[in-house]
């Protein structure tokens, strides 16, 4: 087919003015993912027994879990949105992404300094393994939902976009996991949660070129 014919064809259908749907689509997909992750956490993993007790607010490590995981989600959202728009520069947003991880590392080091040995859960090995596969498991539906949404936009760097979708999904999975996880130790959150989220990001990066390819 001749390019001029193609142009004549397409010319019959001038576009409507775009109304910035990228932010809306990514936010909606993230919200849907969060709902699925929370439901899975409640129905499958079961919430920690003291979750309903109002005293949970006094549990600083529980609050830290929520703040950390939610800020990973909040930091990844704008990057995923920007990566879905061709030609958009990312710049500062990807630096923001590092902040939650850097802050939790500072807290872990501080705790190590105070206690010399971290107050490691007694059955720490078991908790570690559980965290390392259950967060990605909660994140898996989120990864799929986000990939379907982002494919409808136009990501041009599929590996990188996949990695950030993985970070976002990992953060969402970790929010869900926090409702269940009863190992209240800063060192545990800083290491096991971080690793599980990065694990999901790696899966996202590896699957990105297949999951996100659009034509």
């Amino acid at each position: 087919m001749d390019t001029d014919d193609l142009i004549a064809d397409l010319g019959h259908h001038p576009p409507r003015k775009p109304s910035r749907p990228a932010s809306v689509i990514v936010a909606a997909a993230a919200l849907a993912s969060l709902v699925v992750a929370l439901m899975l956490s409640v129905l499958w993993l079961k919430p920690r027994p003291d979750l309903a007790v109002p005293l949970i607010v006094d549990n600083h490590v529980f609050l830290l879990k929520l703040v950390f995981t939610v800020s990973v989600v909040a930091a990844a959202l704008p990057v995923v949105r920007d990566l879905s728009i061709p030609g958009r520069r990312i710049g500062r947003a990807s630096i923001l992404m590092a902040i939650p991880f850097a802050l939790i590392m500072v807290l872990v080091l501080r705790e190590l300094g105070v206690h010399h040995a971290p107050d490691w859960p007694s059955h720490a090995d078991h908790a570690w393994l559980e965290c390392l596969w259950q967060i990605p498991a909660l994140a898996a539906p989120a990864l799929i939902i986000l990939a379907i949404a982002v494919r409808r936009l136009a990501p041009t760097n599929l590996t990188r976009t996949g990695a950030y979708i993985g970070l976002l999904a990992g953060g969402i999975g970790a929010v869900g996991y926090a409702l269940h996880c009863h190992h209240d130790s800063v060192a545990f959150v800083g290491t096991a949660y971080t690793l599980a989220i990065l694990e999901t990001a790696l899966v996202g990066a590896l699957l990105g070129p297949r999951l996100l390819r659009w034509v």
């Binding site: 397409l10 409507r16 775009p18 728009i85 061709p86 958009r88």
Partner: protein
């Protein structure tokens, strides 16, 4: 480029208002920009430039189908070129059978074996001519005359390692020259 950016923006505004002729003109102007861009990129990786026309059409179709991802704070040429680049990479990936990272050597190799066009070879001769004497001699003997590194070393009195380094630098210098 800023000039065409401005023109494209005016046409685009009119297209958004439903002006068919403006949208056609927009696509026409954009296709010229994309064609030049894609040709340049294809030449750099040693591909036949006639693939460019297919890619221009693919890019136009993708652009037409993805207007919902256009945001005003991204220049329309940057937006369209990012889509064209995505299509180009996708095409190269499919057609080079998994060769994801084309290194300089691969690029050189394909450029020679592909037999792209005599014109390309001639322009390479011209490009080689502007290189510094040492690089030029090594590159000419090995890549244009087809001598082995060993033979070239014997012919020039340089070491094999020096020949290799010179050839590598020469290829890089040419790549730089082409980018200009």
């Amino acid at each position: 480029m800023t000039n065409s950016e401005h023109k494209l923006n005016v046409l685009l505004q009119r297209s958004f208002d439903g002006d068919h002729a403006a949208y056609r003109e927009f696509l026409k102007l954009l296709s010229e920009i994309l064609r030049a861009y894609l040709r340049r990129q294809l030449f750099r990786v040693g591909r036949a430039e006639h693939d460019a026309e297919d890619l221009v059409q693919e890019a136009l179709l993708a652009i037409h189908a993805r207007w919902h991802t256009f945001e005003r704070d991204v220049p329309v040429t940057a937006w369209a070129r990012a889509i064209a680049r995505y299509k180009l990479i996708d095409f190269l990936r499919k057609s080079t059978n998994g060769a994801r990272n084309l290194s300089l050597d691969d690029i050189e190799e394909t450029a020679v074996t592909d037999g792209t066009a005599i014109d390309d070879a001639l322009s390479v001769v011209k490009l080689v001519a502007v290189l510094p004497e040492k690089l030029r001699r090594s590159l000419k003997l090995v890549r244009l005359n087809g001598l082995s590194t060993k033979e070239a070393a014997a012919a020039t009195g340089m070491s094999e390692a020096a020949i290799k380094v010179n050839v590598h630098r020469g290829v890089k210098a040419i790549a730089r020259e082409l980018k200009k």
